[in-house]
C-alpha cells in the first residue's frame, strides 16, 4: 500500500474530501441569510494507517460526517424568551389601541365631558328656569352618557379585535405543530441510518421558535431525536408524528377561547393556562387589562347614574313633575340620557320644592356638589378622580408593556447574537475555508500529477 498506487489513492481521497468541504462551505455561504440556519462543518479524520514495517503510514483523509454547529441549551432559552417577547409585544399593541380610546391629550375626553356636565349644573343654579341653561344641561348630560357608552363600546371592539387575532393564531399553531410532527418523522428516519438530519433540525428549531412566539410551549427531545411539545399544564400538542389540533370556542362573554381535544374527543378549555406568547399577551390584555378598564368605566357609570338619579328623581322639574331619572340604562354599556328629558328639558329637576318653583335651584346645587363628593372606591375619590385614574391606569399599563417588550427585545437580540456567534455563517471565515480547501485541492491534484509522472517514468523503463 505504500507504492505509487497508494500515493494515487491518497491524492484521490484528498481531492474528494476537499471537494466535499468546498461543497459544505458553498452551502454555508448560500444560507448566510437563511433564518434559523446553523453553519455546517465537514468533520475530518485521517484514513486508517497501514503498517509498512518501517512504521505506520497514513492512507489519506476521510470525512467523519457533516454536523451543524449549535448550542443545544440555547434553543430552549430562545424559545422561552421569544414567548415572553411575543406576550409583551402583543399586549403593547392591543393596549395601545385601548389607550387611543382614552386619548385625553387634546382635551376632548371623558375628563372634558365630566367637567362640562358639572359646569352645566352650576349654570343651571344661577338660572334654574332658563331654557338655554336647561337645554345645555340636557346636552352635556347626553354627551357624558354618550362618551361613557362609546368608550365602553370601543373597548369592547378592542376585545373583539383580539378575538379575531386569537382565531388566526390558532390556525398558525396548528400549522406549526403539524410541521413539527412531520419534521419529527423525517429526522427519526434520517438519523436511524446514522446520518445527522442537520437541515431538518434547523427547520424544526425554527418552527418551534415561531410556535413559542405565538404560544408558550414546553418541549423536550427524546432519545430518537423527536421533540414532544406541550402547552399549558402539560397538555400535549405534538408527540412523535401525532398532533393535537387546537380549536376555538365562544365563551359566556362572547369572546373566543382556545380549547384542546382530550383523548375522549372532549374539548378542554386551556385559555387560562396560556401565559406567554402572542396569544398569552392578547388574552391577558383582553381578559384582565381591557376587562378591568371596562369594569372601572362601568363602576363610574353606575355610581354616577345612582347618585345623580337619586337626587334628580327627588327634585322637581319646571312643570312640577318629580321622580324623573336623568339617566337611563344599567351601566356603561347602555347609559343614555332619559329620552323624556331630551324631548323636554323642563323635566330637569333643578328644584327641591314641591311643584314647579322656577327660581329654586337647590337640587341643581346638590347635583353639582357631587362633583367634589367622595363617591367612588368606597367613598375615597370623586368621579373626576376616578375617570382620571382610569386614564392614568391605562397609561401605566401601556408604559409597562412597552418597557417589558423593549427589555424582552434586547434580551432576544442578545440571545440571537449569541446564537449567531455560535451557529451563524461568517462569510470571512467561509472565504478563508474556501481558500484553504482550494489550496489543498490544488496540492492534491499536483500530487496526483506527480505520481502520474513517476508512473510514466517507470513505464518508459519497462517499455
Amino acid at each position: 500500500m505504500t507504492d505509487l498506487f497508494g500515493v494515487l489513492n491518497i491524492g484521490t481521497s484528498a481531492l474528494l474530501f476537499q471537494q466535499r468541504a468546498i461543497n459544505v462551505t458553498g452551502n454555508n455561504i448560500a444560507n448566510v441569510n437563511t433564518p434559523g440556519y446553523s453553519r455546517q462543518r465537514l468533520n475530518i479524520e485521517t484514513g486508517l494507517p497501514v503498517d509498512t514495517g518501517s512504521g505506520l503510514i497514513g492512507t489519506g483523509v476521510r470525512s467523519a460526517g457533516i454536523e451543524r454547529v449549535y448550542d443545544r441549551f440555547l434553543g430552549v432559552q430562545l424559545n422561552e424568551e421569544n414567548a415572553n417577547l411575543g406576550r409583551w409585544e402583543a399586549q403593547q399593541s392591543m393596549l395601545e389601541r385601548a389607550e387611543a380610546v382614552f386619548d385625553e391629550s387634546e382635551g376632548y375626553g371623558l375628563n372634558q365631558a365630566l367637567s362640562n356636565f358639572w359646569d352645566s349644573w352650576q349654570d343651571l343654579t344661577l338660572n334654574p328656569s332658563g331654557q338655554t341653561e336647561r337645554s345645555v344641561a340636557a346636552a352635556t348630560s347626553q354627551t357624558l352618557a354618550d362618551t361613557i357608552r362609546q368608550r365602553y363600546a370601543e373597548l369592547e371592539q378592542a376585545q373583539e379585535n383580539i378575538d379575531a387575532s386569537v382565531e388566526g393564531a390558532v390556525d398558525d399553531i396548528n400549522r406549526l405543530t403539524a410541521e413539527i410532527a412531520d419534521l419529527n418523522q423525517k429526522i427519526a428516519s434520517t438519523e436511524r441510518t446514522g446520518v445527522n438530519a442537520n437541515d431538518y433540525r434547523d427547520s424544526r428549531d425554527q418552527a418551534l421558535k415561531e410556535l413559542s412566539g405565538i404560544i408558550a410551549v414546553n418541549s423536550y427531545e427524546d432519545a430518537e431525536g423527536q421533540v414532544a411539545v406541550s402547552v399549558g399544564s402539560g397538555k400535549p400538542l405534538v408527540e412523535s408524528g401525532t398532533t393535537w389540533q387546537l380549536s376555538v370556542q365562544t365563551n359566556a362573554d362572547g369572546h373566543t377561547d382556545i380549547v384542546w381535544p382530550n383523548l375522549n374527543g372532549g374539548m378542554v378549555n386551556i385559555t387560562g393556562e396560556i401565559t406567554a406568547g402572542k396569544v398569552g399577551g392578547w388574552l391577558q390584555a383582553r381578559d384582565t387589562k381591557i376587562e378591568g378598564y371596562q369594569n372601572d368605566l362601568d363602576a363610574l357609570a353606575q355610581a354616577l347614574m345612582d347618585e345623580v338619579n337619586t337626587l334628580h328623581a327627588a327634585g322637581y322639574g319646571l312643570d312640577g313633575t318629580t321622580g324623573t331619572d336623568l339617566f337611563t340604562g344599567t351601566g356603561a354599556v347602555d347609559m343614555t340620557l332619559n329620552p323624556d328629558i331630551l324631548n323636554d328639558p323642563n323635566l330637569i329637576a333643578a328644584s327641591t320644592a314641591l311643584g314647579g318653583i322656577p327660581g329654586n335651584a337647590d337640587n341643581a346645587i346638590a347635583i353639582n356638589a357631587l362633583r367634589t363628593r367622595l363617591t367612588m372606591n368606597g367613598a375615597t375619590t370623586t368621579f373626576d378622580d376616578a375617570a382620571n385614574t382610569l386614564v392614568s391606569r391605562i397609561g401605566y399599563d401601556v408604559q409597562a408593556a412597552k418597557a417589558s417588550a423593549s427589555n424582552q427585545a434586547d434580551m432576544m437580540t442578545y440571545l440571537e447574537n449569541y446564537r449567531e456567534s455560535v451557529s451563524g455563517v461568517s462569510l470571512d471565515e467561509e472565504m478563508v475555508n474556501l481558500v484553504k480547501f482550494q489550496a489543498a485541492y490544488d496540492a492534491a491534484a499536483k500530487m496526483i500529477s506527480m505520481a502520474d509522472e513517476m508512473l510514466d517514468s517507470l513505464m518508459s523503463i519497462v517499455g
Partner: protein, 303 residues
C-alpha cells in the same frame, strides 16, 4: 467572540430602529409642543394634567358665577338707589303738603305725583334681570308685586333667595324676598307700598284736617323706609367685595394651575431640538459606520 455579518447587520438595524423611534418622539413633541401626547408618555403626569384641567374647568365656572353675581348685585343696587330717591321724593311731598293751609287742589295735584311715585316704585320692585324677577324669591317668572285700584300691594313671590356658588361648598346668597325690601317682611320693617297708599289717601281725603294728620303720620314711616332701603343696599357692599375678592383669588389660582399644567405638559422646545440634533448626529454616524463596515468583506480582497 465570533462575529458574523448577520450579527453586524442585525445590530445596525436594531440601533437604527431605536434611533428613528427616539427622533420620531422628539419630532412629535416639537410639532405638538406637548411633552405628553398619550397617557403612556407619562401616566402620572397625565393624571396631574387631567386633575388640573378639572380644576380649571371648575374655576372657569366659578368665575362665570361670580360675574353673574356681581351683575346681580350691581343691578340690585342701582334699582334700590332709584327706589330710595322716589321714597325721599314722597317724603318731601308729605313734608310739604301736610299743613292745614294746603288747598284741596294742591293736594289733588300732589296725590297724582305720589301715585306716579307709587307706580314707579312698583315697577322697580318688579325689575327683571335676564328675564327673571329679582324681588320675587324663587318665583322668578311671577311679577313680585301687583296692586289693586285702591293701591293695595300684594306680594306674589316666596321667601327664596338667589344663591351664587363661588367655591366648593361656599356660596353667596342674595335676598330675593321682595317683602324684606318693600314691605314689613319676616324681620318687621316698613311697608313702603302701604305708606305711599296712606299718603295718597291722606292727600285725597276731603276732610282736610284728618287728611293732614294722615299725611304727617307717613313722614316718619317714609324716613324709616329710607333707612330700610339703605340697610338693604349696604348688605350688597360686603357681598360685592366678597365676590370680587374671590374672583381675584380664582385668577391667582388659575395662573398657578395653568403653570402647573404647563410644567407637566409643555415641552421645552429648545431642549427637544437640541436632543433631536444629537439624535440626528448619532443616526448619521451610525449609518456612515454601517455603510463602511457592511461593505467590507474578505471577498473584496481575494483575487
Amino acid at each position: 467572540m465570533r462575529i458574523t455579518q448577520a450579527m453586524m447587520s442585525n445590530t445596525f438595524v436594531s440601533n437604527l430602529r431605536r434611533q428613528t423611534e427616539a427622533m420620531l418622539q422628539r419630532q412629535e413633541q416639537i410639532a405638538t409642543q406637548k411633552r405628553i401626547n398619550r397617557p403612556s408618555d407619562d401616566p402620572a403626569g397625565m393624571g396631574r394634567v387631567l386633575a388640573g384641567r378639572s380644576t380649571l374647568a371648575a374655576i372657569a365656572q366659578y368665575s362665570d358665577n361670580i360675574k353673574q353675581g356681581v351683575t346681580r348685585l350691581e343691578f340690585s343696587e342701582e334699582t334700590l338707589s332709584l327706589v330710595d330717591d322716589l321714597v325721599r321724593q314722597a317724603r318731601g311731598v308729605a313734608e310739604g303738603k301736610n299743613a292745614d293751609g294746603v288747598t284741596a287742589e294742591e293736594r289733588a295735584l300732589a296725590a297724582e305725583q305720589v301715585k306716579e311715585i307709587y307706580d314707579q316704585v312698583l315697577q322697580l320692585a318688579n325689575s327683571k334681570l335676564g328675564g327673571r324677577y329679582i324681588f320675587s324669591g324663587n318665583q322668578t317668572d311671577t311679577e313680585a308685586f301687583t296692586r289693586d285700584a285702591d293701591y293695595n300691594a300684594t306680594y306674589n313671590g316666596d321667601d327664596g333667595s338667589f344663591r351664587i356658588p363661588i367655591a366648593e361648598n361656599v356660596e353667596v346668597t342674595v335676598d330675593a324676598d321682595g317683602r324684606n325690601y318693600f314691605q314689613d317682611g319676616a324681620d318687621g320693617g316698613v311697608n313702603i307700598f302701604d305708606e305711599l297708599r296712606d299718603l295718597i289717601t291722606g292727600l285725597e281725603d276731603t276732610d282736610l284736617a284728618a287728611g293732614s294728620a294722615q299725611i304727617r303720620a307717613t313722614i316718619d314711616a317714609l324716613e324709616d323706609a329710607h333707612v330700610q332701603i339703605m340697610n338693604k343696599r349696604s348688605e350688597g357692599g360686603p357681598k360685592l367685595y366678597r365676590l370680587q375678592a374671590t374672583e381675584a383669588h380664582w385668577t391667582n389660582v388659575k395662573n398657578v394651575v395653568q403653570d402647573a399644567i404647563g410644567r407637566e405638559d409643555e415641552v421645552d422646545v429648545a431642549q427637544a431640538i437640541i436632543e433631536l440634533q444629537n439624535l440626528q448626529t448619532a443616526y448619521e454616524s451610525t449609518m456612515a459606520a454601517a455603510s463602511q463596515i457592511l461593505r467590507t468583506s474578505l471577498v473584496n480582497f481575494l483575487k
